[in-house]
């Protein structure tokens, strides 16, 4: 790659040819404020705060649109620059309501931080502020099904309009009117209807666009921990950060505060879809299972202990013909769970183990414009790649394989069906046939393992509560065949257990122990048997993250850190991972 070397604040820096002065400054930790520039959206040059002095240029330049050239001498701290920048900030704040105490962005707001760092101490504006839809939160108006818009806070950086035009490929946001009266708006105020709408909150550098989901829910400093993990909503495997609220164990309410995307150049860039961003509420919803359930003689499901449930399972399954046991597996299962289930099937069914497992998932088309640069895939499961690696499904675009299982169950040839679905309700696809077969007796025994109560668990004889994706360390292979680690952020409710461990416990209860003591051992076993498979290559060395104090970012209202943070929460190494907190892993488990 061709490099250019130039001087910025007396420092020699060397960057790839074509890099702008602003990008070079960000890369080298030199403080320049900016709003309209966003690494995922490119240069606009409308906010004018990234002014710098460049030798031999007659006037101050906006660094976002000046490409660095060999020998250029840039100064970001000369009195001229400082004064001009402060002037721009004064203009930006003329109509900004400064309602930071009630604004959702307060505490993580680039306008706030940069104004403190580069702006004037006070405004000289003597006139009332221009308001668009009234004062205060009255000005928060409807902006589609997921968002709220406050035009008074807007500084017209047009990031949202450019995101919709360039990334979503569907220009739903325009700038209405002009000059002083400009406002961000959708056609006839119909709002943003896009599966990528949540990203508008991320790109907005002020509190103008907020999500309804996170609105008034928590202050940034109330989310003391954040864990870097991946989303398991579909086969894209977006890299995300899960924000965890400070909450004593006995307090009511949820711990998951929000989910934001995390930069990964190869997977999701800076973005994620709304389904992953807002669809996490089931994790702490009312339908979660927190104790094993066993169906009593009177037909009611009763909560019980693990020992009792496993004993009941061993009694029921021990009487069945093991060759007639079949498994329905959701593609929401991780590598560890698929492998452990495979081992359990081998112990019970023997050589026909692979054909005894039917894998299911949902497919749904997402309404997106053809020009979009961020396609949300149709397959709503994270680990179809894993299922293929383990030989449970076949083909370039594999299809679910529950049909033959269904035929067997409906013909009454199956003695027991073991359903493993670690995803949200119904993630395994349609299992109503199994429920119907259990009800009319064609299926003598139905065992369900999963985190939420569904029609299947309600019909099952034995229910084993598992973990949601954010409650366990697990690995998945996305649609690119890329192995990714999803890390534990919170503890599972009640007695719920990690899903691979449930499978190991079941095997032990049946007298055919799998011989794994930790998830790490399962991964080692996967590496030993399938190490050459690209979807699992390197699985034994996979690193899992721990919730890290987000305070390391928030205390850094020091814009040095924040410049990096404004790259949408991408990793701030090494601060973020040094000071880790163990979320209460079982002793002896290697992570």
């Amino acid at each position: 790659m061709e490099k250019v070397t130039f001087t910025i604040d007396g420092r020699q820096v060397s960057v790839a040819k074509g890099t702008t002065v602003l990008q070079a400054a960000i890369e080298h930790g030199i403080q320049i404020p900016y709003y309209c520039y966003h690494p995922g959206l490119g240069v606009d040059g409308s906010c004018r705060v990234c002014l710098v002095k460049i030798e031999k240029m007659p006037k101050l330049q906006v660094s976002c649109s000046v490409v660095a050239t060999e020998g250029m001498v840039v100064d970001t701290r000369s009195p001229e620059v400082v004064e001009a920048r402060a002037g721009v900030f004064e203009f930006l704040l003329i109509n900004h309501p400064l309602d930071c105490p009630v604004c959702d962005k307060g505490g993580e707001c680039p306008l706030q931080d940069f104004s403190y760092a580069f702006g004037r101490k006070e405004s000289r504006m003597e006139f009332p502020r221009r308001t668009f839809d009234g004062e205060g939160v009255r000005a928060d108006v409807d902006f589609g099904p997921t968002l709220m818009l406050n035009r008074n806070r807007c500084i017209m950086c047009t990031r949202c309009a450019r995101f919709m035009r360039d990334v979503a490929g569907d220009e739903q946001i325009g700038i209405i009117d002009r000059g002083y009266g400009s406002e961000i708006a959708t056609f006839r105020e119909e709002g943003v209807h896009s599966v990528l709408s949540g990203n508008l909150m991320d790109v907005c550098p002020v509190g103008a666009i907020t999500t309804r989901d996170y609105r008034f829910k928590s202050r940034p400093w109330d989310n003391p921990n954040a864990v870097d993990t991946i989303c398991t909503g579909c086969e894209k495997g977006c890299n995300i950060t899960v924000w965890i609220k400070a909450k004593p164990e006995w307090a009511k309410g949820s711990q998951l505060a929000r989910i934001t995307p995390r930069y990964n150049a190869d997977v999701n860039q800076y973005w994620m879809c709304d389904i992953g961003r807002f669809g996490y509420h089931w994790v702490e919803g009312a339908e979660r299972l927190s104790a094993p359930l066993v169906r009593k003689a009177d037909g009611a499901l009763e909560a019980t202990t693990w020992d009792a449930a496993l004993k009941a399972l061993a009694d029921r399954l021990g009487r069945a013909d093991w060759g007639g046991v079949r498994f329905a597996l959701s593609a929401h299962a991780s590598h560890e769970e698929m492998f452990a289930l495979g081992r359990l099937a081998m112990a019970l069914v023997g050589d026909a183990a692979q054909s005894s497992i039917g894998v299911g998932w949902n497919v749904s088309a997402k309404p997106q414009a053809g020009a979009t640069r961020f396609t949300v895939p149709d397959v709503d499961a994270p680990n179809v790649g894993g299922a293929r690696a383990f030989g449970l499904v076949e083909g370039e675009r594999p299809t679910p394989t529950v049909a033959s299982l269904r035929a067997e169950v409906e013909a009454g040839r199956v003695k027991a069906l073991y359903v493993l679905d670690p995803g949200p309700a119904g993630a395994i696809g349609d299992l109503s046939w199994a429920v119907a077969a259990r009800k009319d007796g064609r299926l003598p025994l139905l065992i369900a393992q999963g985190p939420v109560a569904t029609d299947v668990t309600r019909a099952a004889d034995i229910v084993l509560p598992g973990c949601a994706w954010v409650e366990k360390d697990a690995s998945y292979a996305n649609m690119q065949g890329r192995l990714q680690a999803a890390s534990q952020g919170i503890l599972p409710p009640g007695d719920a257990r990690d899903d691979w461990r449930i499978l190991a416990d079941v095997a032990a209860a049946l007298g055919v122990p799998l011989g794994y003591d930790s998830a790490h051992e399962v991964r080692q076993a996967i590496a030993a048997t399938l190490g050459s498979e690209p979807a699992v290559a390197g699985i034994a060395a996979l690193e899992f993250r721990r919730p890290a104090p987000a305070a390391t970012w928030l205390q850094a209202s020091n814009p040095m850190e924040r410049l990096k943070w404004d790259f949408l929460f991408q990793d701030v190494l090494p601060l973020k991972f040094e000071n880790t907190r163990d979320p209460g892993h079982r002793a002896g488990e290697k992570t």
């Binding site: 409807d142 997921t146 325009g174 056609f187 105020e189 599966v195």
Partner: protein, 200 residues
């Protein structure tokens, strides 16, 4: 929208924006002639720049039904192949696109420097007095709309009045404007000569 996960939003307490919108209007479609005209105009632009024809398309709408409505803008977006927000963006930027009903004759009086120095305000005042409207308003019969505009580009013949985006009437005075209104009332569009008076 159905593809969004169900979210417990709580009681809706948010309200609609106070932004003044163009009327929804009756269903709109270009007449075959106008549609043909538009295609002719669009053919002047490279196919990938068809969006550039938004401005002429909006003028065509105003020719067809005097002002822009929500349905008309949606139709333009559909015909041009751009988003509806883009059409509204353009239409709201330029003052010569009317989002409220206007009269048959839109009298636009320039108020920029040269015209102002030559007494454009007296022309406006006389117009408003004659028609009984305030600047920006339409008379009771729905015949005349008076508007103050920025520079119309005929500074050497100030003050200037433009009628219906097309016809200039230059070197105006309160007396001349009375005659113009009288002529318009009597002869209709025939009175609009687009005349270029020479200064006496």
């Amino acid at each position: 929208m159905s593809f969004h996960p169900q979210m417990p939003y709580g009681t809706p307490q948010w309200h609609r924006s106070e932004r003044v919108l163009a009327d929804e209007g009756p269903p709109f479609a270009f007449t075959p002639e106008n549609r043909q005209k538009l295609e002719e105009i669009a053919s002047h632009y490279p196919p990938e720049r068809r969006v550039s024809a938004v401005l002429p398309a909006l003028y065509l709408v105003q020719e067809q039904q005097t002002h822009l409505t929500g349905n008309a803008m949606a139709h333009v977006a559909e015909v041009i192949g751009c988003s509806r927000a883009h059409v509204e963006d353009v239409a709201s930027y330029y003052v010569m696109f009317f989002t409220k009903p206007v009269g048959k004759y839109v009298l636009q009086v320039c108020r920029t420097l040269a015209c102002a120095l030559n007494g454009a305000e007296h022309v406006t005042a006389e117009l408003c007095r004659q028609l009984g409207v305030a600047p920006g308003g339409t008379d009771a019969a729905g015949e005349f709309t008076v508007m103050e505009m920025e520079c119309l580009g005929a500074c050497d013949r100030a003050p200037v009045v433009m009628v219906n985006n097309e016809h200039w009437h230059e070197c105006q005075s309160p007396e001349a404007i009375q005659a113009l209104i009288r002529d318009l009332r009597e002869k209709g569009v025939a009175a609009l000569t687009g005349c270029h008076h020479t200064k006496e």
